[in-house]
Symmetry: C2
Subunit: 139 residues, 2 copies
């Protein structure tokens, strides 16, 4: 069965690469280092609905994305969330947070307006993330 | 090593019972059916920091709490989140959401003011949750 990324996710993010199960996206918002993981399976909505045989990969991706963000940013706190009230396709947010960031201590979801990266900074960050995750950039 | 529930979590919730690893709490806010899971280990902050030997129980508790909320409420969507910017002790929110609820489609965190349950309704819901989770109420 084909996998189609929800158009809203496609519009708001850059494709970093694909882990065993999950697509890794970078939110194009330089206010927050912010990854989104999307299991490449059709029809998933809720966090607990991942098939048994995919669960290990699903949870591992969260750990890998968390480790990559922590290594690259020195995150003070990681926020993890699967909300999906507006975009029903299952996706997991992993956000590196800092006491001096734009939204602290509030959650980032729905907070203000995204500020896109400049092109050079974006390419650089995507390459670093891909390397940290053991992916070829833009896989 | 002893386990101490953060005072803010203790103040805002009712103890439903304890699963293998995680304490199950009900947020005392009748606007949203809202469970909080807290692994009974000292010093945990982030979602990916649960010890290897505890991970299976940690993830299973999320699935069990999700299933219990879905069974009891017919949730339209489940929101799962580990944020912890204000309460650093690792805790996972699992919230049953509906298109007609008070905050929809926004996340519940920081949304308005909690509305406590009435005593009878609270006792009733805690008992139902405990039964659904296979716990003795108030364990």
């Amino acid at each position: 069965m084909g996998f189609h990324l929800h158009e809203r996710l496609a519009a708001d993010t850059i494709h970093v690469g694909d882990l065993a199960l999950s697509r890794v996206l970078l939110m194009n918002d330089r206010r927050f280092p912010w990854l989104i993981l999307v299991p490449r399976r059709e029809g998933l909505r809720d966090f607990d609905e991942v098939a048994s045989e995919d669960k290990a990969d699903f949870y591992l991706a969260i750990e890998q994305a968390s480790a990559a963000l922590r290594a690259l940013t020195g995150a003070y706190k990681l926020n993890v969330g699967a909300i999906g009230n507006m975009v029903p396709q299952l996706h997991v947010h992993i956000v590196a947070r800092f006491p001096a960031d734009a939204a602290w201590p509030a959650p980032v979801w729905g907070y203000g307006v995204a500020e896109p990266y400049e092109a050079g900074a974006l390419e650089n960050l995507v390459a670093k993330l891909a390397r940290e995750l053991g992916l070829k950039s833009g896989d």
